[in-house]
């Protein structure tokens, strides 16, 4: 249970900065925008198992990035808790980008123009005007990402497996419980927990959205 929450928290922490960057960059028209757009949304449309397998290819012990991480930092992602978080992060990334873009697009570009005439450069404008105005949307996106991370199954089990105490997150645990004879009671308890978590997440998102 705590493991699941921790994995989800790290997933959001992994996904937040690149998602914000992608959402900010996708506001501008530039050659290759479509490619980036497609890349961002890939995890949303691919079967999660495929995403997990691709992660395994790239970040696995023998994958190009995975081998380098292992050599340089002694860091192993595949079949570890961090790996589970990475898999969740990749899966919720497109959701977060979409939610953030909605809030960024809602900001009147006229305000950034006004900031420009007042002497603010591009980064300055983003930090002083865009970011604070989009803050509620970014929070909402994070809560959404967190809630979705809690339920991630396919990519996690493919990339990180289902190792009790390490990578067995709530949905994996429910699945495992259902696989064992007489596991229904355990599964029911876990399922109830998962409903509670989801409701809490949705409530939180609603709260932030209303504060805006």
């Amino acid at each position: 249970m705590l493991l699941t929450l921790g994995v989800a928290l790290r997933a959001v922490a992994f996904a937040l900065p690149p998602a914000l960057l992608a959402a900010a960059v996708l506001r501008w028209r530039f050659p290759g925008r479509f490619v980036l757009h497609a890349l961002v949304h890939l995890p949303l449309v691919l079967p999660p198992v495929v995403t997990g397998w691709l992660l395994l290819l790239v970040f696995g012990v023998n994958g190009p990035v995975g081998a380098w991480l292992q050599r340089a930092f002694g860091l192993r992602l595949a079949f570890t808790e961090s790996g589970a978080a990475l898999a969740c992060a990749v899966m919720v990334f497109p959701l977060m980008v979409r939610a953030m873009r909605l809030s960024l697009d809602a900001i009147d570009p006229a305000l950034e123009q006004a900031a420009r005439t007042l002497g603010a450069g591009p980064l300055d404008r983003f930090v002083s005007i865009t970011l604070p105005l989009a803050a509620p949307g970014i929070l909402t996106a994070s809560v959404l990402g967190y809630t979705a991370s809690l339920g991630e199954f396919g990519a996690v089990i493919t990339f990180a497996a289902s190792i009790p105490g390490q990578t067995r997150t709530l949905p994996l645990a429910i699945y495992a419980a259902l696989e064992t004879p007489d596991g229904e009671a355990v599964a029911a308890r876990l399922a109830a927990l998962s409903v509670l978590l989801a409701l809490a997440g949705l409530g939180l998102a609603e709260l932030f959205a209303r504060r805006r």
Partner: protein, 352 residues
């Protein structure tokens, strides 16, 4: 000297605007909505990427700089205050990003009457208050040039009357070149030093405000509320007669006592329909001002059965709107001498 030149093509419209004006001073861009005033201002600020734009201010080529480095203040029609910041933080936004300059925070707060608004959020401010904060914010960025895009047009009459005096004060206090776009004649007549008339993306007349406003052949003069603009100084106060004498060139114009010291520059707005023309000096009339004038031009306004007469007087150009019948009886034509009778009560005064 401020030199501006813009060439730009939109889908279905094109702009080709060029003018120059002395600095400091208020250059009013006057024209109907859609004439290209806003596009011109946006191009000057660098917010619109024009095909070709040149802005030269006292020899400095501002168009060569990135918009955020031009130090051109911009007061937008809709204010555009930052909603997440207090009025104070809005005012300071440009100030902290600008090099130290001569326009101080307290001075602006006082000039625009903002003291009571500083801790409030933009959503809680009225339209007029918001616009005043927007003007203050632009001023505090220490601009070399200030652009104002119809800053009063989003306000109702009462709010306009509230903000207009602040603009007049600002104009008198800060020696700052200002480009002021408007389609309201009274604002332009009160504030402008140079008037640039824009129609359908072209300049149709440009020059000192008195000259352009007084030309009977322009669309400006054809308006119901056409005014002549004279500029002068307070000559002396005649407390006994309760009149103030204003020197406009060689002419003296008497108006009801005003509260300005002798020597103070003033601007006189004389509505065209209030000017009476005569050939002989009238006796025993209430009119206080009889100005010797020469007719510059007579333009018949067929539909109104009226004639608009442009008059050279000592201090500039006046307009008189009379009936076609009167124009015929007096034999008004270019070059003819005539007397212009101006009621003291019809002169609108402003500090210049």
């Amino acid at each position: 000297m401020l030199r501006v030149r813009l060439d730009h093509r939109f889908a279905g419209a094109s702009l080709a605007i060029a003018f120059e004006a002395p600095t400091p001073g208020v250059v009013a861009l006057f024209g109907p909505s859609g004439a290209g005033k806003s596009s011109l201002l946006q191009a000057v600020a660098g917010l619109l990427r024009a095909d070709r734009v040149e802005v030269e201010l006292d020899g400095a080529a501002l168009h060569a700089l990135a918009p955020e480095r031009r130090r051109i203040g911009y007061v937008f029609q809709d204010g555009r205050l930052f909603p997440h910041l207090s009025a104070r933080a809005n005012l300071r936004y440009g100030l902290v990003r600008a090099p130290a300059g001569s326009i101080g925070f307290d001075a602006v707060v006082q000039l625009l009457g903002l003291a009571g608004l500083l801790d409030r959020r933009p959503v809680t401010l009225s339209g007029g208050e918001r616009q005043r904060v927007a003007i203050g914010r632009a001023l505090l960025a220490q601009p070399r040039l200030l652009l104002m895009d119809e800053p009063l047009s989003a306000l109702d009459q009462a709010r306009r009357d509230e903000v207009l005096p602040y603009l007049a004060r600002l104009r008198a206090t800060l020696r700052l070149p200002i480009l002021y776009a408007s389609h309201a004649l009274d604002e332009v007549a009160r504030l402008a030093d140079t008037l640039v008339l824009i129609e359908a993306g072209r300049v149709c007349a440009a020059g000192p405000v008195g000259e352009v406003a007084g030309r009977a052949d322009l669309a400006l003069a054809a308006r119901e509320d056409a005014v002549g603009v004279l500029r002068g100084r307070v000559a002396r106060h005649d407390a006994g007669r309760r009149l103030t004498e204003l020197a406009c060139g060689a002419d003296i114009v008497r108006v009801p006592l005003i509260d300005l010291p002798p020597g103070a520059p003033v601007r006189l707005l004389v509505p065209a329909r209030e000017v009476i023309l005569a050939l002989d000096e009238p006796r025993a009339v209430s009119v206080n001002n009889v100005l010797r004038a020469a007719v510059l031009a007579v333009v018949a306004e067929g539909r109104a059965h009226a004639a608009l007469v442009s008059l050279a007087v000592g201090g500039g150009t006046l307009l008189a709107r009379v009936t076609l019948d009167a124009a015929g009886r007096l034999g008004l034509q270019a070059g003819a001498p005539v007397l212009a009778l101006v009621k003291s009560m019809s002169v609108e005064l402003g500090q210049d």
